[in-house]
């Protein structure tokens, strides 16, 4: 694992990507203190300057409520990254242990767990998040819950296949026959060796979480004003977007760049995964 991280940072592309993400995150944390328009982040509106194209005073222009697009676009990174990390964190936290347990258990338990997992996976991609946010009420936190609930089965699957593969290895069978407990096997053998594929999936999922959350905001089930989130900003621009391209363009651009970075990082993990094999 350490080897992976090392080779990671030696590659230019993935280190640029990581740098971008970290930089964006820090910027989004500090922007309320630096920007002259920081109040816009908390819902301050100024209709007299609404709908202005990019200029020197407003680098990304203003939206239909007069908010400074640059400030709120950067700030939205904070929330979108929060979603990305939150979703991945919960999905992994719930899915991986279940999957690993399933992989080292007897056939019966494994079957049952996998059937239930398949049941979850049978739902079309967005239906569960939509249903959950519709029931719980739209908000950023509920978005995290909704997406996690629909994604953790993937981690169950990955973790399970990893633990199946590993627990069938010779030295692990020996360990088992020597009476090692399931927990011990998972901790010592399965876990360390499954990290890479899980990380691969996690990085890519982080990106997709942002896109999915944006999709939910689009329907109105995601973040709510005055929260700022890229998908929400694009949605809010719809009534005038033909005449105000900047309100659509910049949030989407940043969303795109962020997801690209996550994908690059995920790819890097995947390359190492193949190398490890």
């Amino acid at each position: 694992m350490i080897k992976v991280v090392k080779s990671f940072f030696s590659k230019r592309l993935s280190s640029t990507a990581s740098l971008f993400l970290v930089g964006l995150f820090c910027f989004s944390v500090f922007i309320p203190f630096i920007s002259p328009y920081s109040q816009d982040i908390y819902g301050s509106v100024h209709f007299e300057i609404a709908g202005q194209p990019p200029s020197f005073s407003h680098w990304f222009g203003t939206d239909t409520a007069g908010r400074d697009m640059f400030t709120i676009t950067i700030r939205a990174a904070f929330y979108s990254l929060k979603i990305a990390v939150g979703v991945v964190f919960f999905s992994v936290l719930v899915g991986v242990p279940i999957g690993m347990f399933s992989g080292v258990s007897n056939k019966r338990t494994d079957e049952v767990i996998m059937r239930i997992t398949d049941g979850f996976l049978a739902f079309p991609p967005m239906i569960l998040p939509i249903a959950i946010t519709a029931i719980l009420g739209p908000s950023l936190n509920n978005v995290i819950i909704g997406i996690s609930v629909s994604w953790f089965p993937w981690y169950v699957r990955i973790a399970r296949s990893q633990s199946l593969v590993i627990s069938s290895l010779d030295y692990v069978s020996i360990s088992k026959s020597m009476g090692a407990s399931k927990y011990h096997i998972i901790k010592t053998h399965v876990l360390p060796n499954s990290l890479t594929p899980i990380f691969t999936q996690a990085s890519i999922d982080a990106g997709y979480a942002i896109l999915t959350a944006a999709g939910l905001s689009f329907i109105g089930l995601g973040a709510q004003h005055p929260e700022v989130e890229w998908g929400l900003l694009v949605t809010q621009s719809r009534a005038q977007f033909l005449n105000h391209w900047w309100v659509v363009f910049f949030p989407g651009l940043f969303m795109c760049l962020t997801v690209v970075c996550f994908n690059i990082i995920g790819d890097e993990f995947r390359n190492n995964e193949t190398v490890e094999k």
Partner: protein, 519 residues
């Protein structure tokens, strides 16, 4: 290599063929056809119960006893199928003289029997707007062209017979048509145009009715009306821009703005009888506190609404009803915008100021509501109140609002009348309701209830007194701070420049093609 070249050529040809057909098909649109581009289809062809977009074809196919012309000041009644009328001193007995030599599209004659038939049938069906006839207790036919209505209470019956819904006179042969064929398109009225063809969700074609009593030599009339259904606003926009449509309904603002410098299309704004406002929940914390409500009302900046958010699509409200409604009267004062005064009110409220939260429900698909919500959120923040926004579709919002547990503190509302009277607003929105239907402020005040009843019944006999009562009622409602008025909406008329004869009449949300002429 050759494969790539081949592919590229094909792609190029493909693209070229598309752009060739940039402007839509230039079919021979006989220029005697008036084309209206609208957004949805007729759902109910029965003139007794239709209550929505049916107004477009029906206002050209049918006629009521009287029209109401609200485009002139003061408004006046115009004879339609009734040439004159009179009422008794107490306003309970109304006599109408009917127009002679009027025929329906199917050939049957129009007379007093028909009128009786229509009113009784509407009452029996009890759908749509048929409740407007509820005050009719007796109908007497004096002669083939004179009919007397006896009412149970002295309501302004002339307003009722000129309603845009539920007041059309239609052929008695409707009974011999099965309910199914009503679904396949049926219409027999006395109006200038008759139903020629209906292609569901595609178009409605009306042809001129030669035997129309008004004759066809008043001007250079249109011979047909084609109501095209295009659900996407951008398609309607393209139709009007490319000259295929003569009149387009509901074009979004961002597209209207691009028509400003057009040489063929003109955009104008006219007053309508729609207004928008915000109801405050008087039974739910913290809006159940009078001073808290007043604080919120003082935080609504109507000038920003009209100058920036709505621009020429609306004007500031001057009362609880639109300024163009007959018998409109402004209350003594509306609560003006002032954040200092709002803070004062908050202090007076006696509420715990450290964590004041309230919520606002609005229709998510309407941009102006969203911007107003943002404005209110910002202003309330400045006086220390947290506003939770709850956008949603109207049906969901309304449903939640009807139950006190799920109801919001503030809800956006739009209202337009079925009968052209201030009482329409008052009955529906502010009169006591056990299970609120539209009284979403949960307001119950027996004084308001009785005053509204009184005013409505005095409208015909003593209009000035009625008007004073309407003023008094509004004063009470403002004082109790049940509602925050916002704007009176303007209707936009997007049409070809070379059409003349278009008049503004907020009483009917439609366009009367018979009155138009081509240049």
């Amino acid at each position: 290599m050759e494969r790539t070249i081949l592919r590229a050529t094909l792609l190029f040809l493909f693209c070229a063929s598309l752009f060739q057909i940039n402007c839509s098909s230039d079919n021979v649109k006989n220029n005697k056809v008036f084309v209206i581009a609208t957004y949805d289809d007729v759902k109910d062809w029965d003139p007794a119960t239709a209550f929505s977009l049916e107004i477009f074809p029906m206002s050209n196919m049918y006629e009521p006893l009287l029209w109401y012309d609200a485009g002139v000041k003061p408004g006046r009644f115009v004879p339609a199928l009734a040439t004159s009328y009179s009422k008794s001193e107490d306003g309970l007995v109304w006599v109408f003289n009917l127009r002679k030599n009027v025929f329906f599209h199917d050939g049957s004659k129009f007379d007093a029997e028909v009128v009786k038939f229509v009113v009784e049938r509407n009452k029996k069906l009890n759908g749509g707007a048929s409740y407007i006839w509820s005050s009719v207790s007796k109908i007497i036919i004096n002669s083939p062209h004179q009919i007397t209505f006896t009412l149970s209470s002295p309501v302004p019956f002339d307003k009722i017979v000129s309603s845009q819904y539920g007041a059309w006179m239609y052929s008695p042969l409707i009974d011999s048509i099965s309910k199914d064929s009503l679904n396949y398109g049926f219409g027999s009225g006395t109006g200038p145009y008759q139903l020629k063809k209906w292609a569901r969700n595609k178009y409605i074609l009306l042809d001129k009715f030669d035997k129309y009593w008004g004759g066809w030599n008043k001007r250079d009339h249109y011979n047909s009306v084609l109501i095209q259904i295009a659900t996407e606003s951008s398609t309607r926009f393209q139709m009007i821009k490319n000259g295929i449509a003569d009149y387009a309904v509901l074009i979004p603002n961002q597209l209207i703005e691009t028509l400003e410098n057009s040489s063929e299309v003109s955009v104008s704004y006219h007053p309508s009888w729609v207004n928008e406002f915000y109801l405050l929940n008087t039974k739910k914390y913290p809006t159940n506190n009078l001073w808290f409500r007043r604080a919120i009302a003082s935080s609504m900046d109507r000038s920003v609404l009209s100058n920036y958010i709505y621009k020429n699509t609306a004007v500031e409200s001057k009362g609880l009803i639109p300024q163009s409604i007959p018998l409109f009267v402004a209350p003594d004062s509306l609560i003006e915008f002032s954040l200092d005064i709002a803070k004062n009110y908050l202090n007076k409220s006696g509420l715990d100021l450290t964590s004041l939260k309230t919520d606002l429900s609005y229709v998510s698909t309407y941009e102006q509501y969203r911007l107003t919500a943002f404005l209110l959120l910002d202003n309330l923040k400045k006086i220390g109140i947290d506003l939770d926004l709850r956008p949603g579709l109207w049906s969901t919002n309304w449903d939640k609002a009807k139950n006190l547990d799920t109801a919001p503190n503030i809800i956006s509302m739009a209202w337009w009348p079925t009968v052209s009277s201030p009482s329409d607003w008052l009955f529906a929105l502010y009169n006591s309701q056990e299970n609120p239907l539209f009284n979403l402020s949960y307001y119950s005040n027996s004084v308001v209830d009785s005053l509204t009843r009184k005013a409505w019944e005095l409208e015909t006999t003593e209009p000035k007194v009625a008007q004073d009562l309407y003023k008094e009622i509004q004063n009470i409602l403002i004082d109790d701070c049940v509602v925050i008025p916002a704007v009176d909406v303007n209707v936009s008329s997007v049409r070809k420049k070379k059409i003349s004869g278009l008049k503004s009449n907020p009483a009917y949300s439609t366009i009367f093609v018979y009155d138009l002429s081509r240049n």
